[in-house]
């Protein structure tokens, strides 16, 4: 095999391994990661129920599942390089021959595999407790889910380059981004039923918003006839594919530029005291 391709694959595998080993090596992670999303989903389910909309329970628990991944993107993708920099790990990446893009892909795959158990646990608990009415189009659900995760993690990669520059405030930025993006993306509710058309159009720049819209449509019926209009779903899927590719490209370019800037300004390595 071509040495560069071999190095790329080894790096992806190794970084994925580190991430999944960290999580699966401490099974408590699953329980820890399920907790808050579960209670949020539970509270919102009860709110939907009290309003007489049992179908809303499905939105609440789907939201919990996706919030797990969104949280992972923010806290373990976007912020990771900043934390690696604090620990002296980032400079080891830069001075190695391994491509940064491979490290990012490895982090993403590891993040998805690591978050999956808690997300699935939440989905199963929701299903067992409430049996929300659902009309899933499974092949489309699978495709939508895959594309949503791909573009979400691509966004995480793009954010990681920003965090390298503005890393000091990373935690605060994460806290500031987490809820607003969840709200604007309609994580816990179908935004098409709540937001005015203008706002719906604006939020389509957020991969999570597009993905949530498609997932909600493919899993639950949003209209009184029970049938699902697939045109918006196909639109969403196309948007997700475009976003994913664009963000991947942007992330790769941005990191290269920032690495060069970092080498010039001397900001890649944080002086340890």
């Amino acid at each position: 095999m071509n040495p560069r391709a071999s190095l790329w694959l080894k790096t992806v595998y190794a970084r994925t391994w580190v991430r999944t080993k960290s999580i699966y090596g401490e099974p408590l992670w699953v329980a820890v990661n399920v907790g808050f999303p579960f209670f949020t989903s539970l509270a919102l389910s009860l709110l939907y129920s009290s309003a007489g909309l049992k179908a809303g329970i499905g939105f609440a628990f789907l939201g919990g599942v996706m919030v797990s991944f969104w949280g992972n993107v923010l806290w373990s993708m976007a912020s990771q390089f900043n934390w690696d920099k604090q620990q002296g790990l980032f400079e080891l990446y830069v001075t190695s021959p391994a491509p940064i893009s491979a490290i990012l892909i490895g982090m993403s795959l590891g993040g998805i595999l690591g978050t999956a158990p808690s997300a699935m646990t939440l989905a199963i608990i929701g299903w067992l407790l409430f049996a929300p009415p659902a009309t899933p189009l499974w092949p489309l659900v699978a495709l939508t889910f895959a594309l949503t995760l791909a573009s979400l993690y691509a966004m995480g990669m793009a954010l990681s380059s920003l965090y390298l520059v503005y890393g000091r405030e990373a935690d605060s930025v994460n806290e500031a981004l987490h809820e607003p993006v969840s709200f604007l993306s309609g994580v816990y509710f179908p935004s098409s039923l709540a937001f005015p058309a203008a706002l719906q159009a604006v939020v389509l720049i957020i991969p999570l918003a597009v993905g949530m819209d498609a997932l909600q449509r493919t899993l639950f019926s949003l209209n009184s006839t029970g049938a699902t209009d697939l045109t918006p779903v196909y639109r969403d899927l196309l948007l997700l594919a475009i976003m994913g590719i664009t963000l991947l490209f942007a992330a790769s370019k941005a990191l290269k530029i920032l690495e060069e800037k970092g080498r010039r300004a001397g900001t890649i390595a944080v002086r340890q005291k």
Partner: protein, 284 residues
């Protein structure tokens, strides 16, 4: 150094930490935006339930909106500062500040109390701001006028309820801190669970009577539930001053009890941690 001066010094440290931004406006905005968004999520869920569900009459919607706006905002406020002691301990172990505080003459409770009070102050500021913004956004988004009672009397009584609730939140903070002293990893895990439980049981988003028995009983005895009820009693038209004082008294009694339990638990945890040698154990 007296207890009071320890507490005051810790308040100053906590305030600098929370609001010591190079750009105060940016810092304030970043801290306010999350509570606004979480409140808006809750009210939007209610709106969708109202529009597509069967249990809410048109006339009820504005009042329910007010109910949720108050509950969601206060829930975020409580969550923001009740786990500051845990944060201070975990962070303090990482930076070796906590062991230094522990061996100081007044030891750690005044330090943690001061940090908690600083967080209360900063959280109050951001909560009031986020509440105001959420009201405006909700009115615009859903086209309703939210019936809130905003008078000098109602605001003053609300302020008193906020202050009385410090007892319960600080008590919870010390209880969680007792756990954090021993935790070498995942010290933030228990507070997130407690936060989640509060969302369900403190009547933040819906009356606890909706929960099946005995879960509804749990909600009814929590001082946080009484605090939120007291606040609604003065800020919403259907409340009354007599019910406000009733809930306030329960909040005070419950909060004092929780604070006493929290302090005892924390003191016990410190003694035990000292025996086991984990007070300065580094967290991962």
């Amino acid at each position: 150094m007296s207890y009071l001066s320890s507490i005051i010094a810790s308040i100053r440290v906590g305030w600098s930490r929370d609001f010591g931004w190079t750009n105060p406006f940016l810092g304030f905005s970043l801290k306010t935006i999350a509570p606004i968004a979480s409140t808006m999520t809750a009210v939007t869920v209610l709106y969708i339930g109202f529009r597509n569900g069967t249990s809410i009459a048109s006339g009820q919607f504005p009042m329910l909106l007010g109910f949720i706006l108050i509950g969601a905002t206060l829930y975020a406020h409580i969550s923001a500062y009740s786990w500051v002691p845990t944060l201070a301990i975990a962070e303090g172990k990482w930076t070796f500040v906590f062991p230094q505080v522990y061996v100081s003459p007044k030891s750690s409770p005044p330090y943690l109390a001061g940090r908690c009070l600083a967080a209360f102050a900063s959280s109050t500021v951001t909560s009031v701001a986020s509440f105001a913004v959420a009201i405006v956004l909700s009115s615009l988004l859903f086209g309703v006028a939210i019936p809130l009672v905003i008078t000098p009397l109602s605001i003053s009584l609300f302020g008193v309820a906020l202050v009385v609730n410090i007892l319960a939140s600080m008590g919870l903070g010390f209880l969680l801190g007792a756990y954090a002293i021993f935790a070498s990893k995942f010290e933030w895990a228990l507070p997130t669970y407690v936060s989640g439980l509060l969302m369900v049981f403190s009547e933040a988003l819906f009356p606890v009577s909706l929960l099946p028995h005995p879960f509804s009983d749990i909600g009814n005895v929590l001082p946080f539930t009484e605090f939120i009820r007291a606040s609604r009693a003065v800020l919403l038209p259907l409340g009354s001053v007599s019910s406000y004082f009733y809930y306030l008294a329960l909040s005070f009694v419950g909060g004092s009890t929780l604070l006493a339990i929290g302090l005892l638990a924390f003191r016990y945890a410190e003694r035990r941690a000292r025996r086991l040698g984990v007070l300065d154990r580094k967290v991962v």
